[in-house]
Symmetry: C2
Subunit: 232 residues, 2 copies
């Protein structure tokens, strides 16, 4: 028996921003796997919940939130083993991924562990990058502009060097790196024309010009858009 | 009466990769607008066609394929005027956008012309960038990697400079710039680990390692993935 592992992108947060194909796969798979931070609810599962049949077997896998490579490897090894058991029994497994599976997705680490033994199909999803731009009504790129997508977790010098030569940029994983990012953007004179958005398309969505951000606890799932100029 | 202009992302090509929200808006709007290259069929419309009600009013707008700024401006001016007439009559207009509306989308130019006069809502879509990565089963980004998205239409020096410092890159709008791009990637020693894909998720989909590309007529809608290294 050959079962398939599906990596199912469920989009940025609004359950209506799931694709028809993702919805179909969620309804078909007898086993639904999803990542969750240790001790917390799974955001990916929350987005997909309206489409998961009640009889589906749930396979939650805990992902340590600390940056401990050994603990992460062990968590993905265990998740892959549990998924493999179901696949070996002939049951398709749908693995839910927030946003898009291949874009900073935990599914990548499961795919690496299972792709030599099982058939894999990936359903792309709407990324938070595109969702945030839609909410802000802020064009990402036009004409010949290039776009840099960069994690705010990088060292200050790397951020400064990369952002300095970018036409347009989106900074991800902002969280506790907010102050550092704002300083870099000020130094390269791109602070004034930047926008902030948190939880794009979700109920808690919040956005404003970067210079107007008042909160002190910046969520991990927030983005900063460093805008280019454009016209036609 | 206040009508709304919807920018509706319909995804990369496979009609099943449209979102539920896009499908709903297509079914609700009495007027459906879409861009098409002069004298050719509209790819955006073809993707959305299964969801457009038969009674909807079609509003095709021709976009010149030549890089003539004046002709392009005139084309968007005319399209915006025609859309405005319907909005002024109180009819919502859904404007179909291939992929995502804010990512190199022609909707951006309509939005700029109409956003001060009308309510606008944008429905993000699955981008070809994410769709191609899903087809190739090639991770885009992991951990702290940054991603450069760059049009192949740029001058050789700009491409070389930008690609040299990118962890991972996706080159868009390849078409007749294929040779130049391959030369640049060879010079910076990233040719061997690159992948080529055309028409991702469409019937004509074709992909292979960049070094195996045999065709001489490279389509405009093709992408080159310049891969990073990753592990966990």
């Amino acid at each position: 028996m050959t079962a398939t592992l599906y990596g199912i992108g469920v989009g940025p947060g609004d359950p209506d921003l799931i694709t028809l194909k993702a919805q179909q796969r969620l309804q078909q798979c007898p086993v639904i796997a999803y990542p969750a931070p240790v001790g917390k609810n799974s955001l990916a599962y929350r987005i997909a919940a309206p489409y998961v049949p009640s009889q589906a077997t749930h396979l939650r896998f805990d992902i340590p939130t600390v940056a401990d490579t050994e603990a992460l490897e062990a968590a993905y090894d265990l998740a892959a083993q549990n998924i493999a058991k179901h696949l070996e029994s002939g049951n398709d497994v749908g693995c839910i991924c927030e946003g898009d599976p291949m874009f900073y997705g935990s599914f990548i680490y499961l795919m690496q562990r299972l792709q030599l033994r099982f058939t894999i199909e990936i359903i792309p999803g709407v990324s938070s990058i595109m969702a945030g731009a839609s909410v802000l009504q802020q064009p990402l790129t036009v004409h010949n502009q290039h776009l840099l997508i960069i994690p705010g977790t990088l060292p200050r010098d790397t951020l400064k060097q990369q952002l300095s030569s970018a036409d347009v940029a989106v900074i991800m994983k902002v969280g506790r790196h907010f102050e550092k990012i704002c300083q870099v953007l000020t130094e390269i004179r791109r602070f004034e024309h930047s926008h902030y958005i948190a939880y794009a398309t979700m109920n808690q969505q919040h956005h404003c010009p970067l210079s107007m951000v008042k909160i002190t606890q910046i969520p991990y799932f927030s983005l900063i858009y460093v805008c280019g100029t454009y016209d036609l």
